[in-house]
Symmetry: C2
Subunit: 365 residues, 2 copies
Amino acid sequence: MNKNNGRVYNFSAGPSMLPLEVMENVAEQLTNYMGCGQSVMEMSHRSKEFEAIIEDAEKNLRNLMDIPENYKVLFLQGGGTLQFSMVPINLLKKSKKADYIVTGTWAKKAAAEAKKFGDIKIVASSEDTTFSYIPKVKKEDFRADADYIHITFNNTIYGTHFGYIPETGDIPLVADMSSCILSEKIDVTKFGLIYAGAQKNIAPAGVTIVIIREDLIGFAPAETPTYLDYKVHAENGSMYNTPPCFTIYVAGEVFKHILKNGGIDPLNKLDVEKAGRLYKFIDESKLYNCPVQEDSRSLMNVVFITGDADLDKKFIAEAKAAGLVNLGGHRSIGGMRASIYNAMPMEGVDALIAFMKKFEEENAK
Amino acid sequence: MNKNNGRVYNFSAGPSMLPLEVMENVAEQLTNYMGCGQSVMEMSHRSKEFEAIIEDAEKNLRNLMDIPENYKVLFLQGGGTLQFSMVPINLLKKSKKADYIVTGTWAKKAAAEAKKFGDIKIVASSEDTTFSYIPKVKKEDFRADADYIHITFNNTIYGTHFGYIPETGDIPLVADMSSCILSEKIDVTKFGLIYAGAQKNIAPAGVTIVIIREDLIGFAPAETPTYLDYKVHAENGSMYNTPPCFTIYVAGEVFKHILKNGGIDPLNKLDVEKAGRLYKFIDESKLYNCPVQEDSRSLMNVVFITGDADLDKKFIAEAKAAGLVNLGGHRSIGGMRASIYNAMPMEGVDALIAFMKKFEEENAK
Ligand SMILES: Cc1ncc(COP(=O)(O)O)c(C=O)c1O
Ligand SMILES: Cc1ncc(COP(=O)(O)O)c(C=O)c1O
Ligand SMILES: [Mg+2]
Ligand SMILES: [Mg+2]
Ligand SMILES: [Mg+2]
Ligand SMILES: [Mg+2]
């Protein structure tokens, strides 16, 4: 337990920690938002109160990420998973070919889903080393007539992150940024489409942000389910149907909170410092190891192992008892994973390192 | 304003009022749910805390609606709108024919969407009288080889409601119950599939309840987008991907609240009393009229007009100033609509009637 009202440090890969200040404010306004006599949970999405909420959320996100005017920002339901389908359905517009770089479980799922809709080529994969690094890919590696290239910018399960933006020339680059959005300044103009489930750095689960260049909108086949057509959402300001209003509101509050604290730069500085301390400790320790190649390491998901599955289990259980929860690796690979998203304070990382040190002493061989 | 902490009476058609007691409890637990040190907004969907939340929500809904064992209960994203697509994609399994009864805007949209996927016949429509009644349909009116029949049980915009359940024999009956679920006891076994967006009687927008008979699951074509296959969700307890956890939690809290107060029967009694008082007042008044045929009137959405569009506008504005908000009819038809869902207390209806009386006196011709 820490000093934040008996709250634990939650290292979950998502849904995950949100800024306490934002949640306290949301709680305070829960039954009566800004004196309007209604909860945001109860508000008509056509009311002027909610219209201001969604417009501000978009404006503040544009401001935070420097999103150019020729990109639409959409707030959608269905998670990253629905984007695995919507991307190929909408973007396979000409050759029906797309190239995928497979750097983990989510990238693999995205590629497998796309195969339902077109000719998908895996141009690079790091599966041979259990996804322990990000392959270096050059423009020549892509098919010249591909409709788009897809990458998973941060790999939540394997703890890797693209240290570079692949050069794709005129071919639109699509990136799943679910687990790293808002953790670093990125040049949006280098991408045709960016998507991100909110449940790591932004908000509770239930809304997915899509940032899409306007010229890519409008190519879904006629028989596309209406909800899966970007054009429908783009033309209706994400209000073709009832949006997940409350979740969008919390996202907007997080955007305001980040802006108030200086935007992405100071946040990234803190993220670099947090991850840096943790990786340094792991690298120097005898007990713990990080299987990820140094140039490919994620700032958000720090994966480590002791090399002894039983000891890993003991670690996770004792950490939990010490108020450091959800340190288990993804159920598909085991080991440990500390997800240290934007809302994880430095104190949480320091508490984790202190615990790791103590555990190492107690379990020295 | 009423006495509930400066809250207004909100007659919105959805999202709409939620029980104050539930919201107060949610607010109290917002940063630390039941002492676990995390907000439900931050909880891993794989945590034992959230698993208990979603299991309880399902169990309590089964209990409230007497849902038989051979039906699955799913918590999905995408709203009623995504169900307009998922129903035909999954249920057009043999003849690829389905029959729709068109009783309003949503029914029409559902039918139009289904036409992308099969041979859809409108077997009855009340569009000729601006949807002022529910057509009486007999078994002989349906195509004998139809894969399913679709109805909109309560028509949110036109204020109508099916006073009967159409006899369809062996053909599965599908009902959109978005705007009436939990307002009356219904016999689930008469339906093959029931769906309902949560944002009227259940929870904030962002989750849709699907109740589906097991034998109807598993027939989506191979190229169906993964998220749109009921089988995927059914086999994974609505956790194939990250569900909208917080919204499901609030839904579960509403289910508990209804159970605590005796289940659906007392709620229905109150709903009948609320709607009854309002319709009686409208029918007896000289100024106001309800365009809906008596046997087709909704308990949830009470539509009325003065017959003078300017006077309607004045009514809506003055009502708002008096703390009775969102009384405007749907933007497609104008007039007035008082949505009096489960969470609208009798006092709200009485306050509305008192206001209507006063407005009528002041505006007598
Ligand atoms: C990088 C990435 N992409 C996609 C997903 C899937 O998102 P969702 O569960 O919202 O469908 C996840 C889930 O954790 C993820 O980490
Ligand atoms: C009866 C009915 N069905 C479907 C919908 C559409 O639901 P959503 O906006 O969640 O897609 C509505 C919306 O109000 C409705 O009233
Ligand atoms: Mg991964
Ligand atoms: Mg080491
Ligand atoms: Mg309608
Ligand atoms: Mg009258």
